[in-house]
C-alpha cells in the first residue's frame, strides 16, 4: 500500500536571529550574519574600553600640571588607548561587522566562501584581544601604540612583549578576513552580478581586503623582531648589536600607513551606499569611484616615509615620499567630489545615516587636507609629534572611520535587527557626535600649531583654555556615543518592524526579508540592474 507523499515543506521563513537559540548555536555558528554580530559585540566592548582611557586622559589634562595621574600612568593610558582603538576597534570595525554581514548579501550569495575560516577569525581576534588586555592588566604598556625602538626593545620596563604578541595574534584574523572577502567577491557573485554592477561598497571592501592581506604580515614580522630583540638580544634594531633603529620605522609604517586605509576605505564603502540612497540618484562616476578605491590601496603603500621626515630619513628619500603622499590625495579627492556631485540635483533627505554621511564628508575633507600640510616637508618639521598630528589623524579615524561606521550601523540596522530605531533621537545624537567631535579635536589643531607636543602629561599655563575646551568636547562626544548604544539596544526589542526595504534602496540585501533568513535568500537572486538604478527599479521600489 502506498501512502500519499507529504506535501513539500513550505519554505522556512525563520530568520537568522530566531533560528537555533542558545549560547552554543551562536558561539559555533558559521552564519556570516551571526559572526558579524559577534564581532559587533566584541568591538563595541573594545571601543568603550579604549574610549574610557581617552576620557581619563582628557580629564587629566584639565590642569596644566596634570590633574589625576603620575607620568608613567599617563604614558600607559595613551598607549593602551591607541593599541585598543587601532587594532581591536578600527581595523576590524566595519569589515568584521558590516562587511561580514553584507558582502554575501550584496552579491546574492548564501555565505562567505569560507564560513569556518570566518568563525576562526573571530576566535583568533578574541584570543589576541584577551592576551593584550591581560598584559594591560598585569601592568600596562608605555611605548605608545607605535612601539618605537630602542625604547620598546631596550628601555621600557612594561609588558611590551605581551601586548605585541596579542597584536601579532589578532593580525592573523585580519588576514583570514581579507582572504575570505577576496575569494568571496571573486567566486560567489550571483548570476548577473558582474564586477561593474557591484555596489561600490564591495569595491571598497575588496580594496581593503587587498591591503589587509598585503600589509598585515609585515606588521607581524616587525613585532616579532621587536619581541626577539627585547627577549633574546638579537641584533636587529640596536646599533650596538649591529642593527638599525630607523629600520623599525620603515617596517612599522610600511604596515601602519596602509592600515589607515584599512580603516578609512570601509567607511568610504558605507558612504558610497548611503549617499545615492538618500539622494535617489546613482553614484556620480561609478567607474572612477570604483577604481579610486584600488588606487588608494596601491598608492597607499608608497607613502610611509612621511612619518619619518624628522627621524633621520635622507633628504632625497623624504622628497620622494612627500611627492607620493600628495599623489594619494588624488583618488581620495575623486571620491569626495563624486559623492558631492551625486547629491547635486538629487532628492536629498536628511535621515540619520545621511547626517552621518554628510558629517563624514566635511570631517574627512578636513582630515585629508591637513594630511597634505603634513606631507609638506617644511610644515612637517614644525608640527611633527604635536597635537596637530593628533588632531589630523583623529579627523580621519574618528571623523572619518567612526562616523562611517555609525552611519552604516544606522543604515543597515533595520536589515540586521528587523526593527527601526527612534529617528528623532538618532538625529539628535548624530548632531551631538558632530558637535562633540569638533569641540574635542579642532582646538587640538591650534594647540599643535602653537607647539603643544603629543604624549605629554603636562603643559604651559597658556594652553589651558584650549585643553579645557577639548575635554569638554570629549564628554559631549561620550554622550553622543552612549546614546546610540542605548536606543539601538532598546529598538532591538521595542522598535517598529522595519519591513524589507525601509529606505527604498537598490542593493540585493534589501530584496530579502528583515531580518534575513539563515541562507539570506529564499531563491538565489538574479541581478538584472546596474548598481543604484533608481529609475529602472522604480516600480519594484514603490511596492517595497
Amino acid at each position: 500500500m502506498t501512502t500519499p507523499q507529504a506535501p513539500p515543506a513550505a519554505p522556512s521563513h525563520i530568520d537568522y536571529l530566531s533560528e537555533r537559540q542558545g549560547i552554543w548555536p551562536w558561539l559555533l555558528t558559521t552564519d556570516h550574519k551571526r559572526i558579524g554580530l559577534l564581532y559587533t559585540a566584541s568591538i563595541t566592548g573594545f571601543f568603550f574600553i579604549g574610549g574610557f582611557f581617552a576620557l581619563l586622559m582628557r580629564l587629566h589634562l584639565l590642569e596644566p600640571k596634570g590633574a589625576l595621574f603620575g607620568l608613567e600612568t599617563y604614558n600607559k593610558l595613551f598607549t593602551m588607548h591607541g593599541i585598543i582603538m587601532v587594532w581591536f576597534f578600527l581595523i576590524p570595525s566595519i569589515p568584521g561587522t558590516l562587511g561580514n554581514f553584507l558582502i554575501p548579501m550584496m552579491i546574492g550569495a548564501k555565505d562567505l566562501a569560507f564560513p569556518k575560516l570566518n568563525l576562526a577569525s573571530w576566535y583568533v581576534f578574541m584570543t589576541g584581544g584577551i592576551v593584550t588586555l591581560y598584559s594591560m592588566l598585569r601592568g600596562g604598556v608605555d611605548t605608545g601604540w607605535t612601539f618605537y625602538v630602542p625604547f620598546s626593545t631596550t628601555y621600557s620596563t612594561a609588558y611590551v612583549a605581551g601586548a605585541a604578541i596579542g597584536i601579532f595574534i589578532a593580525g592573523f584574523s585580519s588576514i583570514m578576513t581579507g582572504l575570505n572577502f577576496i575569494v568571496t567577491i571573486h567566486r560567489m557573485r550571483a548570476p548577473g552580478m558582474t564586477w561593474f554592477r557591484m555596489p561600490i561598497f564591495l569595491w571598497s571592501m575588496y580594496a581593503t581586503s587587498l591591503v589587509l592581506v598585503l600589509a598585515t604580515p609585515v606588521l607581524a614580522i616587525t613585532l616579532l623582531m621587536v619581541i626577539f630583540e627585547r627577549l633574546f638580544r638579537v641584533g636587529i634594531f640596536d646599533p650596538s648589536l649591529g642593527g638599525d633603529p630607523v629600520l623599525f620605522q620603515h617596517m612599522f609604517w610600511f604596515y601602519s600607513h596602509p592600515a589607515v586605509y584599512i580603516m578609512i576605505l570601509p567607511a568610504m564603502a558605507v558612504i558610497s551606499e548611503i549617499i545615492p540612497t538618500f539622494s535617489r540618484k546613482p553614484i556620480f562616476g561609478y567607474t572612477a569611484v570604483a577604481y579610486s578605491s584600488l588606487g588608494i590601496a596601491v598608492v597607499g603603500f608608497l607613502v610611509w616615509g612621511h612619518h619619518m621626515f624628522v627621524a633621520g630619513l635622507s633628504v632625497y628619500s623624504a622628497m620622494a615620499f612627500s611627492f607620493l603622499s600628495y599623489l594619494v590625495a588624488i583618488p581620495s579627492a575623486i571620491k569626495v567630489f563624486n559623492w558631492t556631485a551625486t547629491m547635486v540635483k538629487g532628492s536629498v533627505s536628511w535621515d540619520t545615516p545621511m547626517l552621518y554621511a554628510i558629517g563624514f564628508l566635511g570631517l574627512f575633507t578636513i582630515g585629508g587636507m591637513t594630511g597634505l600640510f603634513l606631507a609638506a616637508l617644511g610644515i612637517d618639521v614644525h608640527v611633527t609629534d604635536t597635537y596637530f598630528v593628533v588632531a589630523h589623524f583623529h579627523y580621519i579615524m574618528v571623523g572619518g572611520a567612526v562616523m562611517g561606521y555609525l552611519g552604516g550601523v544606522h543604515y543597515w540596522w533595520p536589515k540586521i535587527s528587523g526593527k527601526m530605531y527612534p529617528e528623532g533621537l538618532a538625529r539628535l545624537s548624530a548632531l551631538i557626535v558632530f558637535i562633540g567631535f569638533n569641540l574635542t579635536f579642532f582646538p587640538q589643531f591650534i594647540l599643535g600649531y602653537l607647539g603643544m607636543p603629543r604624549r605629554y602629561a603636562a603643559y604651559p599655563d597658556e594652553f589651558q583654555f584650549l585643553h579645557v575646551l577639548s575635554t569638554a568636547g570629549a564628554t559631549i562626544l561620550g554622550v553622543g556615543y552612549i546614546l546610540p548604544l542605548c536606543y539601538l539596544i532598546w529598538s532591538w526589542k521595542y522598535g517598529k518592524p522595519a519591513g524589507r526595504n525601509p529606505w527604498r534602496a537598490t542593493g540585493l540585501e534589501w530584496q530579502t526579508s528583515s531580518p534575513p533568513p539563515s541562507h539570506n535568500f529564499e531563491v538565489t537572486p538574479v541581478c538584472t540592474h546596474p548598481a543604484y538604478d533608481f529609475e529602472g527599479m522604480k516600480e519594484e521600489l514603490e511596492l517595497a
Binding site: L214, F254, M308, S314, V315, F321
Partner: protein, 99 residues
C-alpha cells in the same frame, strides 16, 4: 582542480640547476668585483627562488589568478625594499652631518 602532472625528470633538472647556481655563487664570491659582488649574488639568489616557486611550489602550473597573487606578493616585497633603500642609499649625499 586536478593536480598537474610534472615529470620526475623536470624536478631533477631543476635540482641540478639549483646546485649549479649555488656553486656559481660560491665561486663568484672569490672574485673581487666591489659592489657588484652583492648585485650578482642577489641576482642568482632571485633566479633560484623563482625556480623553486615556479617548479617545486607549482606556481607555474596554477590558474592565472593564483599566479597574479604570487607575482603581486613579490612586487609588494620589492616596493618595500626599493623605497626603504631610497633612504639608506641616499644618506650622506648632502654636506651636512646626518643628511
Amino acid at each position: 582542480m586536478a593536480e598537474p602532472i610534472v615529470r620526475k625528470r623536470t624536478y631533477w633538472i631543476v635540482y641540478v640547476v639549483l646546485l649549479a647556481l649555488t656553486l656559481l655563487t660560491v665561486l663568484l664570491g672569490y672574485l673581487h668585483m666591489g659592489e657588484f659582488n652583492m648585485v650578482v649574488a642577489i641576482a642568482i639568489a632571485t633566479i633560484q627562488a623563482s625556480l623553486i616557486a615556479g617548479f617545486f611550489m607549482h606556481a607555474l602550473y596554477e590558474a592565472p589568478l593564483v599566479r597574479v597573487v604570487t607575482v603581486g606578493g613579490v612586487i609588494w616585497f620589492l616596493i618595500m625594499m626599493t623605497l626603504t633603500l631610497t633612504d639608506y642609499h641616499t644618506r650622506g649625499w648632502l654636506p651636512f652631518p646626518g643628511k
